[in-house]
Amino acid sequence: MAIVSVRNVSKDYLLGKTVVPALRELTLEVQGGEFLSIAGPSGSGKTTLLNLIGCVDTPTAGSVEVDGQDTSRLSERKLTDLRLHRIGFIFQSFNLVAVLTVAQNVEFPLLLQGGLSSRERGRRVGALLEAVGIEAYARHRPSELSGGQRQRVAVARALVTRPALILADEPTANLDSKTGESVIDLMKEMNRRDGTTFIFSTHDPRVMAHASALVRIEDGRIVAREQGAAA
């Protein structure tokens, strides 16, 4: 079953008075459990596509379905709820809350959900920190961590709610290649372990090599969809 279904989606941006098309009638289906890489040069529309799938932006035309729900029919509140419960995010520049500790950053989405007891939360956060290999830094502030460590915290935060889908926009762009690869390895491991779907964008061929499937975008259109080397 497709966890993401993008149909005939166009997205235009207004730059002053000129309309700049970012996506042109793009259609894409992503199956549950995929580890999909979106590749393409800068300005090709990778980020726009991820934003539409991540329910943080709306298409000019066409429809986006995430986890079986048509996002154009949902209110802003509902979209936020969908993000909270079904989607995890990993950002290019990590985006941790500077004033919270590593553990608190990871716990944050669970607190927003408000379903679990304190002990359950603690257990889940502890297990994830261990899984991403930074349990020793649980009480540290993000500023005390290296870039790779921070991105591991971000991965843990994205996974903590056990979402169906994790979106990562250029997760390795701010990391050196070796660290970047280890973060991708971590993501891949999580994908394998829980079956969580990952969609990430990159223009780094070494990162693409880890993907199970690869979608190439140019000028807002999909120019190729291929099975990756890792598949």
């Binding site: 943080v56 936020t80 995010f89 950002f91 004033v99 919270l100 607190l111 927003l112 959900q113």
Partner: protein
């Protein structure tokens, strides 16, 4: 639920961590809030005690808690007078009825009848005074004349001194008018009159006149009284403001009143207690008053060398020495001159030249000269126009249109505690009610009958304007206005008769019933429990309405008139400046919070992306504002409270001038820390910090998750 609590604690955690993370901003914003709280707590403590002090002073001096007056009066009642002078009030004809109704109302402790008015008091003419003494000596001398025309030595010595004093005054007048003649161009119509005056003066200042004076002093005196005394211009009338009242009831009800000199008027008798401030300001010899004021100013740190007002007083003292010269007879003048020559020191012979030198003081010489004035010169002078024990003549335009006059004895000087320096309250003199009624001249039916009978007896049909004019010189009780119409200057027998009547008036004791039954203009009501002022006012109004009395009841603040408005204005000014302060604080805080929000756009966008609702972001932002507001607000309020206590321990704010003393209702201001001020301060501070946080919080909710997606570079 527990998760909700946990979420709330994360909100707090994020808020405090954010505040801690940006310490400089927190310090600035918190500093503003803290300062605001300090000012509000301290300011309300000061204003509260100002208010309470002034309320006490006003209630305890004239106004009481409530005031009653005729509702058909043309003016509203203002006990201290308004811009236009005393209020014009319709008379309450029978106070006894009002008293009965008012005293029956619960919570009424006392009701005090009043008639507040202004009148004139004869300020006397030094010439008249000197001639009066000379005339008394002349009579005594005639009576003591031995068979061979010899006079006892002591009497003769006094006689010669008095004559010399009068002669000296005439010489001074002669010189002055001589100077004036050179300068003034006299209109033709007045020339004959002026020539006659000048001839009179020449005659009075001549050896022939004084040679003949001893042989026939009474003829000589008549000439001086009729022709020379009127040329002396200083005699006249001064304003006096008084409250005619039931003196016993007044003294019992108004705890702020104190007699600073003399004694109370004996119960039931006529009499007046002069306002101490009035006596100092208007009745005291101008030189002494100016010296007092300079001394007081210097005690408050002002210097003659640097202060134009003090320089003006010094100049006035050294140029206007005539008042002192006129008071001294030649023997006293020589004593004064001798003392001055040794004190200054100087070889100058003429007192008229020594005095200007003496009064031209500077900061180095002032204190010594001040002491010298009071030690050596003052005993030779009459410092006050009237003294305790004197009988003074008060005149006022009566209701009937005539000028009424009444003689009252001065029993003492009175002041209102806390308002000693107030020209609104302590300028008032307190007089008995009967004298007020005589001055007010309300013609009761009984009096009408009495007047008709007197007219019949005297064979007069009516009074015309000319004879009404003569009232000015009469000064009798209004019950018998025709008695003193015999001539413009009453002759000896009439004077004698008046003395007899005065003696009767001064010793007569009026019963409470007599005091109560008659005209008053308003009445002060004192309450047992002042906190129930509002309901008692309503009950009182209802009671007088039920009794069919055409009266209106007002509270002390209204009755204080401009003084009450002044207090309201003061409060308004203080709250106004506090408002401006907080408005500025609000703008600065708002700006700081917006800046902080802009710095955290990415973080907030991330929170929104990972699933935080707008409400969460709004709360997070508000919690931060409230936390900073509460923390620094409480701290500031505590500092403010400590400051108040510190000022109290240090003995309060001292007054530095009369205006402040009036404001403070006493020599110092002790700020009082009420729970109200503290609560108000906290409420305002928290309200302001919330208000300053609202706009940035709304801005924060507008941050979209897309912001999180932008890369940093």
């Amino acid at each position: 639920m527990r998760s909700r609590i946990r979420a709330a604690s994360v909100l707090l955690l994020i808020a405090f961590r954010n505040l801690f993370a940006s310490r400089v901003r927190t310090a600035i914003v918190g500093g503003i809030i803290g300062l605001g709280a300090v000012l509000v707590v301290f300011g309300t403590a000061v204003v509260d005690s100002l208010n309470a002090g002034m309320a006490r002073s006003i209630q305890g001096s004239l106004a009481g808690h409530l005031q009653l007056y005729r509702k058909d009066s043309p003016d509203p009642l203002q006990v201290y007078g308004g811009m236009m002078g005393s209020s014009r009030l319709e008379p309450i004809r029978d106070f006894a009825v009002v008293k009965r109704v008012v005293e029956a109302v619960p919570n009424v402790k006392a009701v005090v009848p009043m008639g507040i008015d202004r009148a004139f008091v004869s300020s006397g003419n030094v010439f008249d005074v000197a001639l009066e003494k000379l005339r008394a000596d002349a009579r005594e001398r005639l009576a003591a004349l031995g068979p061979a025309g010899e006079v006892p030595a002591e009497l003769d010595f006094r006689w010669r001194a008095r004559k010399a004093h009068v002669r000296r005054m005439i010489t001074l007048l002669h010189e002055e008018l001589g100077e004036a003649r050179k300068l003034v161009d006299v209109p033709p119509a007045e020339r004959a009159e002026r020539a006659r005056q000048w001839a009179d003066l020449e005659r009075a200042d001549s050896e022939e006149f004084w040679g003949a004076f001893d042989r026939d002093p009474l003829t000589g005196l008549e000439f001086l009284e009729n022709r020379i005394a009127p040329l002396q211009a200083d005699g006249g009338f001064m304003f006096i403001r008084y409250v005619g009242t039931d003196l016993a009831a007044f003294q019992g009800a108004f705890d702020r009143m104190k007699i600073v000199e003399g004694r109370p008027v004996p119960p039931g008798q006529r009499g007046i207690l002069l306002g101490k401030f009035y006596a100092e300001e208007y009745l005291k010899l101008k030189h002494a008053r100016r010296l007092d004021k300079i001394r007081e100013a210097r005690e408050h740190g002002r210097l003659i060398a640097k202060d134009e007002e003090l320089q003006r007083w010094v100049k006035e003292n050294s140029t206007q020495t005539r008042d002192i010269l006129l008071q001294l007879d030649p023997a006293q003048a020589e004593l004064a001159a001798d003392a001055l020559r040794r004190f200054l020191p100087s070889t100058e012979q003429d007192l008229g030249k020594l005095l200007p030198i003496f009064f031209r003081t500077d900061d180095a010489t002032f204190d010594a000269r001040y002491r010298f004035f009071y030690d050596r010169l003052a005993p030779l002078l009459q410092l006050y126009m009237f003294r305790v024990g004197d009988t003074i003549t008060i005149k006022a335009a009566a209701k009937s249109g005539y000028m009424n006059a009444v003689n009252v004895k001065v029993y003492g000087l009175v002041a209102f505690e806390g308002l000693e320096k107030s020209n609104l309250a302590s300028i008032f003199s307190i007089m008995d009610l009967q004298s007020f009624r005589d001055l007010y001249g309300w013609v009761t039916p009984e009096k009408e009958a009495e007047i008709a009978a007197l007219k019949k007896e005297a064979g007069l049909s009516d009074l015309d304007r000319a004879s009404a004019e003569a009232e000015l010189f009469g000064g009798g009780a209004p019950a018998a206005p025709v008695v003193t119409h015999a001539g413009a200057i009453p002759d000896a027998p009439v004077r004698h008769e008046r003395r007899a009547r005065d003696a009767d008036l001064f010793s007569r004791v009026y019963t409470q019933d007599e005091i109560d039954r008659g005209v008053v203009l308003n009445a002060a009501v004192l309450l047992g429990d002042p906190r129930r002022l509002k309901e008692t006012r309503a009950a009182l109004q209802a009671a007088v309405d039920r009794a069919g009395l055409p009266l209106t009841v007002i509270d002390w603040k209204e009755a204080a008139g401009s003084l009450g408005q002044y207090m309201t204005g003061l409060q308004f000014a203080l709250y106004g400046s506090a408002f401006i302060l907080f408005a500025i604080a609000l703008v600065i805080m708002n700006n700081a919070m917006v800046m902080a929000m802009l710095q955290r756009v990415k973080e907030i966008g991330t929170m929104r992306a990972v699933g935080a609702q707008r409400r969460f972001v709004l709360l997070m932002s508000l919690v931060e504002s409230i936390a900073i507001g509460l923390a620094f607000g409480v701290a500031g309020a505590l500092v403010g409270a400590a400051l108040v206590l510190g000022v109290r321990l240090a003995g309060g704010f001292p007054t530095t001038n009369d205006q402040l003393q009036f404001l403070f209702s006493g020599p110092t201001l002790l700020p009082r820390l009420g729970g109200g001020g503290f609560a108000v301060a906290l409420t305002i501070v928290v309200a302001v910090s919330i208000a300053s946080g609202i706009y940035p919080a709304i801005l924060a909710t507008r941050i979209t998750p897309l912001e999180a997606m932008q890369s940093e570079d």
